[in-house]
């Protein structure tokens, strides 16, 4: 709240700096023109002078405020905890967090009374310290703002290249926004690797990647079944591939490819104009809706089918139900990739085949699809990558039992299902169970990354071949 006031103050002052700079620019312009308004005597326009001064004023102040909003509270917190006697200091990170939450609650008034007497004692000190610190940061920001603004203002001359400087800064900002993508990628990789390393200190990577037993529950008592906790992820990998790459693709590839062929080669253009957006809408349905549908409608149907087929142990969270619905979800994706690939085949190739007396289906099967094959394969690989990373359908419709089975009517579990199961509910930090989710995430990330890079390269090479 105090920071917000500081921010508004800083922005207001920067606005003043802009007005001052612009006014000076205008005065210079009038003086230089001396009655006749000719270009060339003044390098930059008044608005650029204003922007230059404002930016010089704003940038350091904003950096100070942003930095403080990130680390300021922790700094105060550290100081505060430091004042405590060693015996009173919270033992773990969690305890410390709980204590500080309570202190903040007391200060903000969200908590009427304290449960922990320590918190009650710390509250006034915290309030005072954080007010002081915020005041200090605010003062520093305003001081920097004034210094920057005045320095900028003093540099304004008729021949001063304010526009170029402002534009250079804006370009730097543009570059920074692009770097966010790299930072995100790094953030993902680092957080996955960091937590995975901690996991692999507890469980050997060989066991994780080759073990056939998965039961991450660490038991409360040593004599419980599976008390040790087993982290062999092979059943998870199999379940992921079984649902995402086998069952779902068995549905999505024929449906998607045939729809694309029908839409591109046979459908009346008017029909095509309606059907294509319909397919796109199908792609826009949230996965949680598919998951609900899979769990509530499709799974019971699949189970009754299994029972009718004479299977006594049919599971109500079968791989088939989740895979079927996931396949349907992927159809629009496969179809649009195949559509792109087929349209990219030069029409001269189609004409060449038709002119030989081939029927349309012969042309499609023997010329168009083989010619579009790299594009189609690339699209299918992207679809596989999407299917194995899909979460909600399997969380809602697939099971948690890590079975190594090829029976589509039995229950299997997937990497994403396990990540969600491991990280929701009660979390124990630093336990192998929680950390294993990050190791699974790392495997998933690497798998999809390889698939994506390879598939994008295939698709790109394919497009270039016909350009």
């Amino acid at each position: 709240m105090r920071l917000l006031i500081a921010l508004l103050l800083v922005l207001g002052l920067a606005g003043l700096a802009f007005l001052a700079g612009r006014a000076r620019g205008e005065r210079m312009a009038v003086a230089a023109a001396g009655g006749n308004s000719r270009l060339g005597t003044i390098h930059s326009r008044p608005v650029h002078h204003g922007a230059y001064v404002a930016l010089l004023a704003l940038a350091p102040a904003l950096i100070v405020l942003a930095g403080w909003s990130l680390i300021g509270d922790r700094f105060v917190e550290g100081q505060l905890i430091g004042t405590l006697a060693p015996a009173e200091q919270p033992a773990s990170r969690n305890d410390r967090q709980a204590l500080m939450n309570e202190v903040r609650g007391l200060v903000s008034g969200d908590l009427p009374t304290a449960f922990n007497p320590l918190a009650a004692r710390l509250a006034p000190a915290y309030a005072a310290a954080s007010a002081n610190a915020d005041l200090l940061a605010g003062a520093l920001a305003v001081a920097l703002l004034c210094a920057g603004g005045l320095w900028g203002y003093s540099r304004l001359r008729p021949d001063f290249r304010a526009r170029n400087r402002v534009e250079r800064l804006v370009r730097a900002v543009l570059l920074l926004t692009s770097v966010v993508a790299i930072l995100t990628t790094f953030g993902i990789v680092l957080s996955l690797i960091f937590e995975s390393i901690r996991f692999f200190r507890l469980v050997s990577p060989v066991e994780f990647l080759t073990g056939l037993q998965w039961s991450p529950q660490t038991a409360l008592r040593a004599d419980q079944v599976g008390a040790s906790g087993a982290f062999g992820a092979v059943p998870l990998f199999w379940g992921t591939i079984f649902i995402g790459a086998i069952i779902a693709m068995a549905v999505a590839i024929p449906l998607g490819l045939l729809s694309a062929i029908y839409l591109t080669q046979y459908a009346d253009p008017r029909l095509r104009r309606w059907l294509k957006p319909m397919l796109e809408l199908l792609a826009g349905v949230p996965t949680v809706v598919y998951g609900f549908f899979a769990a509530l409608t499709v799974a019971p149907l699949v189970r009754s089918l299994a029972v009718a087929l004479g299977m006594t142990d049919a599971s109500s969270d079968s791989a088939l139900a989740a895979g079927l619905v996931m396949g349907i979800m992927i159809v629009p994706f496969v179809s649009s990739m195949a559509d792109d690939a087929l349209t990219a085949v030069p029409s001269s190739m189609r004409d060449g085949s038709l002119a030989m007396g081939a029927t349309m289906s012969e042309t499609v099967k023997k010329v168009m699809v083989p010619a579009a094959l790299p594009g189609i394969v690339g699209g299918v690989l992207l679809a596989v990558s999407r299917a194995i990373g899909e979460t909600m359908i399997v969380v809602m419709a697939a099971g948690l039992a890590a079975n190594l089975t090829a029976n589509p009517f039995s229950s299997v579990t997937t990497v994403t299902t396990q990540i969600v199961a491991l990280l929701t509910g009660d979390q124990e930090f630093d336990s192998a169970k929680t950390l294993s989710a990050f190791a699974l995430g790392l495997v998933l990330f690497i798998m999809t990354l390889i698939l994506n890079i390879y598939a994008l390269a295939v698709v790109k090479r394919y497009r270039e071949a016909y350009e």
């Binding site: 253009p269 001269s348 060449g352 002119a355 007396g357 010329v367 010619a371």
Partner: protein, 266 residues
């Protein structure tokens, strides 16, 4: 100045025309691309269609094997017959028609398959070979006729798209020949090729003359003069003049033809 071709068709001199067109109009949507064209094509000659770009010569060519069917907005009126059979009649089978009237396109368009498979594609579609040996023979003779055999006999399994442009175009001709058509339509077959490859194709056309009725669309008048015996001059969708090539190039009846031949426009 304006002989009405519907009443007074410019008929070729031989006794049995292979294809005849009478009063053909083609529309793309509302736009009329071909206006009342009547023409005969004989088996013994190479017939050239010339004219400035956009004059409708390619459009008319594509009517002769119904390739215009693949364009949704195209509408063809009038009669076109192959050996006296109306090719737009409902009982005429378009698949069969295109096997009998082959086509070579402006840009070489080999399929992304091996050279062998490119040539074997047509015979396989139409079931012209009963055995592998028979297919080999068909492929070989088609490639020989296209003058390509000696260049490719050792690499029949290589991709057809990996060849030079001229070779690709001769492969497309071999592909058309392999189904043993009666007519071969060529739509500016040399426009994407260099002069040497062009000369090679022109020689080939001359070798194929007499065996097939050949119709070639070209914007290159020298080429028309070199390869054809009959020439039709199209302008703005109409057939202006149709006669022996020597007559067209030395003594045209129409001033428009003369202007075009002498390079006044086009």
């Amino acid at each position: 100045m304006n002989p009405n071709p519907a009443q007074n068709p410019a008929i070729g001199h031989n006794q049995q025309p292979k294809m005849t067109a009478r009063g053909v109009n083609v529309f793309y949507g509302q736009k009329q691309a071909i206006k009342n064209v009547s023409i005969d094509v004989s088996s013994d000659h190479v017939t050239a269609f010339i004219g400035p770009s956009g004059c409708g010569k390619s459009t008319f060519l594509r009517c002769l094997n119904r390739m215009n069917d693949t364009v949704d907005s195209a509408r063809v009126e009038g009669d076109i017959a192959l050996d006296g059979q109306d090719i737009y009649a409902p009982q005429m089978d378009v698949v069969q028609l295109r096997a009998r009237v082959g086509m070579v396109f402006q840009k070489p368009n080999p399929f992304p398959k091996s050279i062998y498979e490119n040539v074997a594609y047509g015979p396989r579609l139409h079931g012209l070979a009963r055995s592998k040996a028979e297919m080999d023979a068909i492929v070989e003779s088609a490639l020989r006729r296209a003058g390509l055999w000696d260049e490719v006999k050792d690499r029949l399994s290589e991709s057809g798209t990996a060849m030079s442009g001229g070779q690709q175009q001769r492969l497309c001709i071999a592909r058309a020949i392999a189904v043993d058509p009666e007519v071969i339509l060529m739509d500016e077959p040399c426009s994407a090729l260099d002069p040497i490859a062009t000369a090679r194709i022109e020689e080939l056309i001359d070798e194929l003359r007499g065996r097939y009725a050949i119709v070639i669309v070209t914007h290159n008048m020298q080429q028309a003069a070199r390869v054809s015996q009959k020439t039709a001059f199209f302008h703005l969708g109409s057939l202006v003049e149709y006669d022996d090539t020597s007559t067209i190039f030395t003594n045209p009846r129409e001033t428009r033809t003369k202007d075009y031949i002498t390079g006044r426009y086009g």
